[in-house]
């Protein structure tokens, strides 16, 4: 039954557009799916392999800019960004991995954070190539309706879910978790930790970048401040996974749903709208202190707390 759960959930989601949902609701659903792709991708590297990246915006942004530059400089549809960003993202991940993966724990985290900023600043300064802070605007959108965008991102997230599950249940998954739990032990048990960390990083980078390429097509406008954002991309990615549940299959999906709803809700509040980062920050702090393994990871704990509350 558990095996088929993703197919059932995604089949149900495929029916949703037939309910005649408003454009706004469709937009929210698309954002949730996009964030669940990014979250699942991050989780592969951070949750399972234990390499916490603070710089996933570097991959999201490069995916987005590949699509944008193909359109702007290459004169082809930005959708080509989805297949063509893959080799670029692999090369990017190899370079970042070569530099950062030699560091452990929090130092890896910060090195990736710095890399994310390097990419943002570079995109801002390479004006001939990226238009700098002006950003890139798609003059014509593929569809006015949201339905097709929805199906594309739905397909991408199902694909991501299945890839992650396949990987985690294979030899790779065992190696990833072994590396997370104890890198020295893993190495002495014959696991080439550098190689497998690099594989995890490449997979995670490609999946994140695909979401970025989708973003360009869907939103029709990108600039470095948005797609390479430290807080609004890299940190929110971590929050999606932390809220939902680190190292769980469904955690990033649950986290994406909650974070997107929360972000929209906070933004809609008349006075608190500008305080959304404060509220996110407080939420992050509370989650870390009280639900360190997220809603899915600490589900039994949540049930216990609330179940107990009801009885007494």
């Amino acid at each position: 039954m558990k095996r088929y759960a993703p197919y059932i959930v995604f089949a149900l989601m495929a029916v949703l557009p037939f309910l005649g949902l408003s454009t706004y609701v469709m937009h929210i659903l698309i954002l949730m799916l996009m964030w669940s792709v990014i979250g699942m991708a991050w989780n592969l590297l951070g949750g399972y392999c234990g390499q916490v990246s603070f710089g996933h915006a570097a991959f999201f942004g490069v995916g987005a800019y590949t699509a944008g530059i193909l359109y702007f400089k290459g004169g082809v549809s930005a959708w080509w960004g989805i297949p063509l960003s893959i080799p670029i993202l692999v090369v990017e991940a190899l370079i970042i991995g070569f530099i950062c993966l030699r560091l452990r724990g929090p130092f890896f985290a910060l090195a990736t954070l710095a890399m994310g900023e390097v990419f943002r600043v570079t995109a801002e300064n390479l004006r001939n190539f990226t238009q700098g802070t002006l950003g890139i605007m798609l003059k014509e959108r593929t569809w006015v309706e949201k339905t097709w965008y929805y199906y594309i991102i739905l397909g991408l997230s199902l694909f991501t879910f299945l890839v992650v599950r396949k990987v985690i249940q294979s030899r790779l998954g065992y190696y990833f978790v072994a590396i997370r739990e104890d890198q020295d032990a893993a190495e002495s048990l014959g696991i080439n930790t550098t190689l497998y960390k690099t594989i995890a990083l490449c997979l995670s980078a490609v999946l994140t970048g695909l979401a970025g390429a989708f973003y360009t097509n869907y939103m029709g406008y990108i600039d470095p401040e948005v797609v390479f954002a430290l807080h609004d991309i890299s940190i929110v990615t971590i929050m999606v996974v932390m809220v939902g549940g680190v190292a769980t299959f469904w955690g990033p999906v649950v986290g994406a749903v909650i974070m997107v709803i929360l972000a929209e809700f906070i933004r809609s509040l008349p006075r608190l709208g500008s305080a959304h980062q404060t509220l996110f920050g407080i939420l992050l702090i509370l989650i870390i202190i009280f639900l360190p393994n997220g809603i899915v990871g600490d589900f039994s704990k949540l049930k216990r707390i609330f179940g107990f509350g009801r009885r007494s």
């Binding site: 710095a114 971590i238 500008s274 920050g281 992050l284």
Partner: protein
């Protein structure tokens, strides 16, 4: 090299050195916290931002000179740092979770809250503190008539630099001569041994976080006369502090000083010869080069020399 080019180079080196002295102060605070707590404080720059707003308002409301307000702001930041340690970081140190990076993520959360609250209360406007000596400078030709080249030393930059040096020396004195300072160093070197020697590790952590915050707070006051102020500036300085710590060698105070100076000079060179917008890229380039070629930072070079191994 003609005299103009030489002038530009020397002037660039001077301003790099002055900037580096302030960077060193920021880096020392971060490296202290890293050494004792084994965590990276990603709210470090935001703490500096908070201190800068304090100094700014002290100046605007009570006309207290930023250099004087160090004496008010640093103690306040000390208390603020201790409060963060006691009520937020300490509880998380005890939480069991899959990712030990939780503590780092926590400091990110704290930084986000601080930056956002500053935006709400003070708007995201750029502010500068109109001290009347802001554009004063000493010129080489005033002291040496026949000088073939002209160099200038900005008064506030120089004063800030000198104060940063004084604070660093005071800190060195505290760490090496007082009992509390020695206990902090013992905790940084080996927690278990420190516990056995009867050091109150929990208290040392509180003091260290307070001290780190006070140092970066002091740096904030020194930056106020020479820099403008806006809520998002924290993130930038957090990164700078982190780059310095990597460059200097994790947890090494001397390394942080050298790292700060190196970074200041390097940034100043990039800004002059490549372009203002690329200064941050220069910062990261040096950071990446350090990661690849000097993984232990400057401190590892020092250590190698000393032990001759």
């Amino acid at each position: 090299m003609d005299s103009v080019a030489l002038e530009v180079l020397l002037q660039t080196l001077i301003s790099g050195l002055l900037l580096g002295g302030l960077y060193a102060l920021i880096g020392i605070g971060m490296t202290l916290i890293m050494g004792v707590m084994k965590i990276i404080n990603l709210a470090h720059g935001e703490l500096m931002m908070v201190a800068m707003y304090m100094a700014y308002w002290l100046f605007v409301l009570f006309h207290i000179d930023p250099y004087v307000s160090v004496l008010i702001v640093a103690p306040l930041m000390f208390l603020f740092g201790m409060a963060i340690q006691k009520f937020l970081i300490n509880p998380v140190l005890k939480v069991e979770s899959i990712l030990p990076e939780n503590q780092v993520i926590l400091t990110v959360g704290i930084g986000m809250v601080l930056a956002n609250l500053a935006t709400i209360f003070f708007t995201s406007d750029y502010r500068s503190t109109p001290v009347d000596y802001a554009s004063d400078a000493w010129y080489l030709s005033d002291y040496w008539r026949g000088s073939p080249i002209e160099l200038s030393l900005s008064v506030p930059w120089t004063v800030s630099f000198v104060m940063a040096v004084i604070i660093t020396i005071a800190l060195w004195f505290f760490l090496s001569k007082t009992d509390t300072g020695k206990s902090i160093r013992a905790t940084a070197q080996d927690i278990d041994a420190a516990l056995l020697m009867g050091v109150n590790v929990e208290r040392m952590r509180l003091i260290t976080f307070g001290l780190g915050a006070a140092l970066v707070g002091a740096a904030g006051c020194l930056f106020i006369p020479i820099y403008y102020l806006y809520p998002a500036l924290g993130g930038r300085f957090t990164l700078i502090a982190f780059v310095i710590t990597i460059l200097g060698g994790l947890g090494s105070t001397v390394g942080a000083i050298i790292g700060g100076l190196l970074l200041g000079i390097f940034e100043s060179l990039t800004a002059t010869y490549i372009g203002m917008g690329w200064a941050p890229v220069g910062r990261f380039a040096i950071f990446i080069l350090a990661l690849i070629f000097l993984p232990g930072g400057v401190a590892s070079l020092l250590r190698r020399r000393r032990l001759g191994g």
